[in-house]
Subunit: 246 residues, 2 copies
DNA sequence: ATATCGATCATTGTATACGCTTTTCGGCCC
DNA sequence: GGGCCGAAAAGCGTATACAATGATCGATAT
């Protein structure tokens, strides 16, 4: 699927962006937000990539005002970094941030498991299995972007079963950031979740065994974190003295 | 009802808002954000209060553009609610949201306790004791706003000791929202944390007893939640049939 | 030839202008 | 007298214009 999901035809329909043409504003903005967010999560926009307001405005056929709003939202979710007077760029997570994110996931996603095991329905199980299967398939056929997206969606969907919207939202953000972390510190070929892991987890949940699911999720997340190659590359302000004093 | 806590003298300094006068922009925006955020957390702006962009723009001496940016940030933190075409108002949390927020606090704040007990320093203890004492004093002298603010600050500061910026940030948001919840469901006179609770908690942490601190925090939060009077007032779309069919 | 300084250019920050929607108030009809 | 409809006003959504700042490239001097 090509990623031209933003409808470029819509802007030409009004004869050149007549101002004041209101109406489907909120929906369009949400769609643009999703487009950019997806592109980042799927690594089609890589960490460090600059996001110029003019360019985005032209691409999506709205003015810079709307783009800025979307960029600010993405910045609050820490998917993009807003540098004063320099503009927006895709966030390049530090090693510390990566550790924080995975520690947070460990605490929250594991803590949620018992409640999820209690509340999970047959419908949920069907949806989760479908996602897990599609993820495995994507992984096998080399569609990395799709696999990454499905993996994040799996964890997010799981959290939403808990019924706690606040925590589910938090997990969703953490998964988005994890995707960025994988882009920077992940080894090619071994990206994130082992596919059968998710299937195993579904099994524990179907059996209503929250404690095993919790323990398994813990190992699962620790395995992902362990698979990262966190070379503490201090790109900015290298210690020249130490480098040249040997 | 006019709150003049903002510095109005600063805006008159440039002779009437000359456009393009740049320079201290970011700092000023942050200050305005803090002003509004504080007013909400301290219950000086009550849930449901409308926040008109024009009025705020005039009050703070910047244009609506900047105000909108700040309002959107507050909306993402769920302190204000943005209704399309209707503008912004202070969020009135639902009973469900209140439950979610306290469940989240229970999980995260308790889960953080062992690590906090491990990392807490003498300096932290001094700061925490100071806050707890000031909170008790404010409570005694009837300064509700100050007490609420200090209570939220206490929990936030505590979380930051864990060293996990992501989770600390999450706790900060949860505390802000808790303040809103107290404004809607709290009983007057018995607001939030019992003051000596915080002192007891500090004691456990100083002793390095993370497990007792965790258990105590659990009771503490449950006590706050239990003190709420959550009458499930379904203001919007009341079920008239049920009401009049008896 | 290279380094530094200056000018132009590219890009963001902020304000303002204008259209559209919603609300409210007044008049009219029932 | 009360309710409904219409018009005016108020307030939000979006685009555009302008200014300031940081970056880049070129010229000049050493």
């Amino acid at each position: 699927m090509n990623q031209r999901q933003f409808v470029a035809g819509d802007k030409s329909g009004d004869g050149g962006g007549r101002p004041g043409k209101n109406g489907d504003g909120p929906k369009r903005h949400e769609a643009i937000y999703q487009s950019i967010s997806d592109a980042i999560i799927e690594h089609r926009l890589k960490p460090g990539a600059r996001l110029r307001e003019d360019a985005l405005a032209e691409v999506f056929g709205i003015s810079r005002t709307g783009i800025r709003k979307i960029l600010q939202r993405l910045a609050l979710e820490q998917l993009v970094t807003l540098t004063p007077r320099r503009g927006a760029s895709v966030t390049r997570p530090t090693a510390d941030e990566a550790k924080d994110v995975f520690d947070a996931r460990l605490m929250v996603e594991c803590g949620l498991m018992p409640e999820i095991a209690r509340r999970i329905t047959a419908e949920d199980l069907v949806a989760l299995r479908d996602m897990a299967q599609r993820e495995r398939q994507a992984l096998k056929s080399g569609e990395q972007s799709t696999a990454i997206r499905l993996s994040a969606d799996f964890h997010t969907r799981l959290a939403s079963i808990s019924g706690n919207a606040t925590l589910a939202d938090f997990v969703e953000r953490l998964c988005s950031r994890s995707s960025l972390i994988l882009a920077v510190y992940g080894n090619a070929g071994h990206l994130g979740c082992e596919s059968h892991d998710h299937d195993d987890l579904i099994g524990y949940l179907e059996a209503g065994n929250g404690e095993r699911a919790e323990a398994f999720m813990g190992r699962h997340l620790k395995a992902i974190e362990a698979s990262l190659s966190i070379h503490v590359e201090e790109d900015e302000a290298p210690d020249l003295f130490e480098i040249f004093s040997g």
